[in-house]
């Protein structure tokens, strides 16, 4: 089918929108609420206006239509840059801004949002009127849940709802308010009884600062400034290939050395690496899996992803007995720092404050778990997402790109193997585990080291690996993203699928694309494969490449823990889970109350 856009004849498919047809032909139309990666066209911002002339009407009857949800029709003449259209788009953006909280200085996006981009694209020069009724009276969210919503920044694109439904199949969000106070909220209104697992995908797709991590940068600064406190930083496997985005590095650049240099410059007392914790997890979890394999106890699910653990607790508590009891690398690091490390270095553990830098929002919730604390003192004091970490670095006037890389100098908990390094990508935990399992079963290293059958990017993958010895072939499954996870868990519970060991990461792409990583604009996880490749490269450069060959890990067991799954290791490095499933009656009086509010504003 044929039509013209800006005098250019184009062909298009039936039911294709004007926006799709324009994009297919390299013609730019400014868009705001639309999100192509999710096929999400809510049609709410009304900015993507074009002038359309239908065939047979000459140029006398122009229609001004939104290109995102109007189908292209045969013989139409579309104009995208007439003066009238430009004026209408500017007017529309003026209205978008009219009830938007434009105090960019206090926004987590700090002006680097899609809204500003579109305002620039349409040439907005002034906002002549303001409508703020409602949101200016909202109290700031002072709760504890990792993701916070600021209604005053919301532009009602509902991408957050879309990603939660379409990508994660969690469906934890619903609309809230009416008119000027329209926005979103958690279902049930309360985190604990809502389906939310804090994966943070809503923040990743938000075009503004409406959905964000709970900002804890100031607390980290407070620790660093306090001379009585020993501040310990640990950075997760993925952080080194994520953070560079915030400072102009090419996507997937490994900035581990710059992170260490920056933390030294900031004045952090002790710099550790969560990758060490990842190696430790492999020792514990691997031993646990072997035991379960030997006793034919059924499948084991990994437990390092906090979004997944919360998901299992809230949505499939019947699967909890199959979760590995090993703490996550973050949790293991916290406990080892406040016990082993403090003991060896002769530091009073009460003075230690551990700051984790994670690519993840759910890690904030994990750190707050009662099971990861001792006598009311949490093992991890605060968790910063990569985005907060970048803000922290800027607080100290540091430009990461101008720093010379530095290296770890801690002799206890900073060495890591290639296996620990790949924890940050989908399949990495599984591959790390297989390397060690193979060694334990056969007494020799796996030939070739890398397990290519576990690598890839499909959301759900499975493979059979021959461990040799008594165990022989075992069935493995890997899943990233919770939509696939639901299917996989259901298949395991129904017996339709049989696996021995299953790795789950809640964020599509795994930790390297976690909900706490720098926010890309307009596209969903565009750098996933580059970051994954960067971790594989790091693995190849590393010596050793297996967790059990990490000399600091060997020293930890020799000097402190004994052997994997020893009583001491079990006490310090394992945790437990509980069902958090809730049954909510339909609250019809609340529905009626909301209806009254809508009608009697």
């Amino acid at each position: 089918m044929k039509a013209t856009i800006n005098q250019k004849e184009i062909s298009f498919e039936p039911n294709q929108t004007i926006l799709e047809a324009a994009r297919a032909n390299g013609i730019f139309i400014p868009t705001l609420c639309e999100y192509q990666s999710l096929n999400h066209t809510p049609g709410t911002c009304r900015v993507c206006l074009v002038e359309v002339h239908r065939p047979g009407e000459g140029m006398k009857n122009p229609q001004y239509l939104t290109s995102c949800n109007t189908p292209m029709t045969e013989g139409s003449v579309v104009l995208t840059q007439t003066l009238k259209i430009q004026e209408m788009r500017r007017f529309q953006m003026e209205m978008v801004m009219a009830d938007h909280n434009q105090d960019c200085s206090t926004c987590t996006r700090q002006g680097k949002c899609e809204l500003i981009d579109v305002a620039n694209a349409v040439g907005l020069k002034q906002v002549g009127f303001h409508y703020t009724q409602g949101w200016e009276n909202l109290k700031p969210d002072t709760g504890t849940k990792p993701v916070v919503y600021d209604q005053s920044r919301c532009i009602r694109c509902y991408r957050c709802i879309a990603v939660c439904r379409k990508i994660q199949d969690i469906d934890a969000l619903e609309t809230d308010g009416w008119g000027s106070t329209a926005g979103v909220r958690l279902k049930t209104g309360v985190y604990e009884s809502s389906p939310c697992v804090s994966c943070g995908q809503c923040a990743m797709v938000c075009p503004t600062g409406a959905m964000s991590e709970r900002d804890q940068v100031q607390r980290a600064v407070d620790y660093i400034s306090d001379p009585d406190i020993v501040t310990v930083f640990q950075t997760a496997p993925a952080v080194r290939v994520d953070l560079g985005d915030e400072f102009g590095f090419l996507p997937g650049s490994n900035v581990e050395g710059q992170i260490i240099a920056a933390l030294r410059q900031i004045g952090v007392d002790i710099i550790l690496d969560t990758n060490f914790g990842a190696d430790l997890v492999i020792m514990e979890e691997g031993t646990e899996v072997l035991e379960r394999l030997k006793t034919k106890a059924g499948p084991t699910f990994t437990s390092c992803c906090p979004g997944w653990v919360t998901y299992a607790e809230k949505h499939f508590p019947e699967i909890l007995p199959m979760l590995s009891t090993t703490r996550s690398p973050q949790g293991a690091m916290g406990k080892m720092t406040k016990t082993y490390f403090a003991e060896k270095r002769k530091i009073d553990p009460a003075k230690i404050r551990i700051v984790s830098v994670m690519p993840c929002t759910a890690k904030k919730e994990e750190a707050a778990r009662l099971a990861l604390s001792e006598g009311g003192v949490p093992d991890i004091d605060i968790v910063l997402t990569v985005r907060e970490f970048a803000r922290l670095i800027r607080r100290y006037g540091i430009d990461l790109s101008r720093l010379d890389p530095s290296a770890y100098d801690d002799m206890l908990m900073s060495e890591y193997s290639g296996a620990g390094a790949i924890f940050g990508t989908t399949g990495g935990v599984m591959e790390a585990a297989v390397r060690t399992l193979y060694y334990v079963v056969n007494g020799k290293e796996l030939e070739g080291i890398e397990v290519s059958s576990l690598r890839g990017f499909e959301n759900v993958r499975s493979a059979t690996v021959d461990l040799g010895g008594d165990l022989g072939k075992i069935r493995l499954a890997i899943c990233h993203g919770l939509r696939g996870t639901r299917k996989l868990v259901e298949a395991v519970l129904s017996g339709a699928e049989k696996f021995d060991f299953i790795e789950i990461m809640s964020c599509p792409g795994g930790c390297v694309d976690g909900g706490g990583t720098p926010r890309p604009k307009k596209t969903y996880i565009p750098f996933a494969k580059k970051r994954q490749e960067a971790l594989f490269t790091l693995d190849r450069q590393k010596k050793p490449r297996q967790s059990h060959n990490n000399t600091q890990i060997q020293a930890l067991y020799a000097d402190f823990l004994g052997k994997p799954n020893s009583e001491k290791a079990h006490h310090l490095l394992h945790t437990h889970y509980k069902s958090r499933k809730t049954h909510n009656d339909a609250d019809i009086p609340a529905a009626w109350e909301e209806l009254r509010k809508q009608k009697d504003r």
Partner: protein, 659 residues
């Protein structure tokens, strides 16, 4: 009367300010006699405005209209959310003399943007009349005078084609929003404002809303019933829906006669208001025709029970089963025994007979549709044995006939025939029902009418039929049917079922009750208040309307409850202005002749999963199932929210009630 001074209607300006215009002005019925002793000054709608009184303040009418539009704006799309507020504020500024005429240009620019670029009907339609006024009658925009400030009021009613088509006036777009937005309980709550039988309606409603849906001009109407059922089932089939008695309690008692959809809805609404309600019914279970008349393969009885008996009991209502009005129970008894009001909703449960030769009472092998369905009900629900074999012939073309043929299949009949005097296209039954029955093996015989029964030894052996043909179209384009001479033939049958309609039973209301009936035994009521000719006695549902649909009964139940509450609290049932406005919209077909202005991206209508005909046609398990959550979300995207605002501008305030 309708003395038009000036106005714009369907983009056409009419100016009779100096002399009568040459053009015939639009005449809307029901406007000038809208309220007694209260002049109608103007009418503002989506398609224009009409001014009937010279000193009407145009600006005030639009101020109030846009104020309401801004309230109705859900806030999702930018131009409506911000623009309607902007328009409201600029209009008031001018009206109060705080801005000069220059602001009218800004208002026009904003109104154009809102009308041209809004996402749904609220934003698209609400500035249209204003734009017409600014283009054609700008000189009439003047600040409000002191007199106009006092003697001018607007009653504004927001509705949509689907809402107006529904006898119960359910706010359809709003509950579709609820599902779209992931607020299933909110969606359910919207419908529960009207009636309790949401899951029932979501399964068996005849869907006037879908017939009126403007999306049918694109692909097909929105699957409104599927969406409603989905929202209901999220709570009802998961045992998440419970009620507790109202915190406010009145000491007034109401007796409801009939536990059908009208009676249950009336009781539900009165119980929510805190009145004491007792329900009397001839059967042993609640639901009325929805229970007996609708087989469980279409409406599982546990769903029905939860939405009728359980809800009423949870709210504190009582049931007295096996009680028959006119047979040991009378209206006098009730009013003498402490009931302050009575609602009669005993339905129309007597099957209509053919009136053909050899149609004697108590024949073996002959039964009316409702009596047959009662037997089916007793068999399926109460394990009373009832088996069929051989040939069953059902005569009729409505949903009851469909229920009969499909039930007959399920009870073991070898061949099931459906005989209908007109063509398939003329059948009043739901199209889906016709298809489903055909898939289950029912054999159709169109253009055939019964003329007699072939009886042997008091037992029906065959049905005598005559073939029919369609006549030429009459003036209104309708085609009737007439018998073809010499086409008599017989159809062998072991059971003949007359499913050609029902009637209101005689002798329920007695002459001494003081309640007037019409010649069809239907109770005569005030259509606005549903009051009968006896004070304190109200009536609704099939016993007033003669056999109508479930949703008509639900609507009557609700209206009766409003009237009864009014009567009990204020001594008098008054008419709501929205009822009158609904009549105006209907009389003038104001929501009908609309086309789609803009083309829409095509999204196919959702299809409800069904059990395979092979598996379903020998049992009474539910055939149709819920659409998935993903399908429900997708389906809600098809709704275009065709809301419009209608404003009746009067001299004195209308809101509240009418005499």
């Amino acid at each position: 009367m309708n003395n038009l001074i000036y106005g714009v209607w369907n983009d056409e300006a009419y100016d009779c300010r100096q002399t009568a215009t040459g053009k015939e002005p639009p005449r809307l019925r029901g406007l000038d006699d809208f309220a007694h002793n209260n002049k109608t000054r103007a009418f503002v709608a989506d398609r224009g405005f009409l001014v009937f009184e010279r000193d009407t303040s145009l600006i005030k009418a639009f101020c109030q209209y846009m104020t309401q539009a801004a309230k109705e704006s859900c806030g999702h799309c930018t131009p409506c959310r911000v623009g309607t507020q902007c328009l409201r504020d600029m209009l008031w500024q001018f009206a109060e003399g705080k801005a000069d005429t220059g602001i009218l240009d800004e208002i026009e620019k904003m109104a154009e943007q809102v009308a041209n670029t809004s996402l749904c009907g609220i934003g698209q339609s609400s500035p249209r009349a204003l734009l017409g006024a600014l283009r054609h009658f700008r000189s009439e925009f003047k600040p409000i005078s002191p007199a106009q400030a006092i003697f001018q009021h607007s009653f504004i009613y927001t509705t949509a084609p689907c809402v107006e088509a529904c006898p119960s006036k359910v706010d359809v777009p709003r509950y579709i929003d609820g599902v779209r937005d992931g607020k299933f309980d909110f969606a359910l709550g919207i419908v529960l404002e009207n009636y309790p039988m949401v899951g029932t309606c979501g399964r068996v409603c005849v869907r006037f809303c879908e017939s009126a849906c403007r999306r049918s001009m694109a692909e097909a109407p929105v699957g409104i019933r599927q969406i409603k059922r989905f929202a209901a089932d999220q709570a009802i089939t998961r045992d998440r829906l419970h009620f507790s008695p109202s915190p406010v309690q009145h000491d007034k008692r109401v007796a409801v006669i009939g536990a059908g959809p009208a009676g249950i809805t009336c009781a539900y609404r009165l119980l929510l208001e805190g009145f004491k309600v007792d329900i009397f019914d001839a059967q042993q279970a609640a639901g009325g025709m929805a229970s007996i008349g609708i087989p469980s393969y279409r409406l599982p009885k546990d769903v029905l029970k939860k939405e009728t008996e359980d809800v009423v009991r949870e709210l504190g209502g009582n049931f007295y089963y096996g009680k028959v009005l006119g047979d040991g129970l009378s209206v006098d008894d009730l009013l003498d025994n402490g009931y302050n009001a009575v609602f009669l909703a005993y339905g129309a449960s007597q099957g209509t007979r053919f009136g053909i030769k050899n149609e004697y009472p108590d024949l073996d092998g002959y039964i009316t549709g409702v009596d047959f369905l009662l037997k089916v009900y007793q068999c399926v629900e109460n394990a009373q044995p009832y088996k069929l074999s051989g040939d069953v012939v059902v005569v009729g073309g409505g949903n009851v006939a469909m229920d009969c043929v499909r039930s007959a299949r399920r009870l073991g009949a070898k061949n099931v025939h459906l005989v209908y005097r007109r063509t398939e296209e003329d059948m009043p039954a739901d199209h889906e029902e016709i298809v489903a029955a055909r898939n289950e093996g029912v054999i159709y015989h169109f253009l055939a009418a019964p003329t007699g029964l072939v009886v042997d030894n008091n037992c029906v052996k065959a049905l005598e039929l005559v073939k029919m043909k369609q006549t030429e179209r009459d003036a209104k384009g309708r085609r009737n049917v007439e018998p073809i001479e010499g086409s008599l033939h017989t159809m062998q049958s072991d059971l003949v079922i007359a499913a050609i309609g029902q009637q209101v039973e005689r002798n329920v209301v007695k002459p001494g009750d003081g309640i007037e009936l019409d010649r069809y035994n239907c109770i005569i009521v005030n259509p606005d208040t549903l009051e009968t000719t006896r004070k304190g006695v109200f009536a609704g549902g099939d016993c007033v309307l003669s056999p109508q649909t479930l949703v008509h009964a639900l609507g009557h139940g609700e209206r009766a409850a409003v009237s009864i509450a009014d009567y009990l609290l204020n001594g008098k049932a008054s008419v709501k202005p929205e009822y009158r406005l609904q009549d105006v919209l209907k009389k003038n077909a104001l929501l009908k002749d609309e086309c789609l202005k803009n083309s829409v991206v095509s999204i196919p209508r959702a299809v409800s999963p069904e059990i395979d005909p092979e598996k379903r046609s020998r049992n009474f398990d539910e055939v149709e199932h819920d659409i998935t959550k993903e399908a429900a979300y997708k389906e809600t995207e098809r709704c275009m929210r065709c809301y419009r605002l209608y404003s009746l501008v009067t001299e004195r305030e209308l809101a509240g009630t009418l005499a």
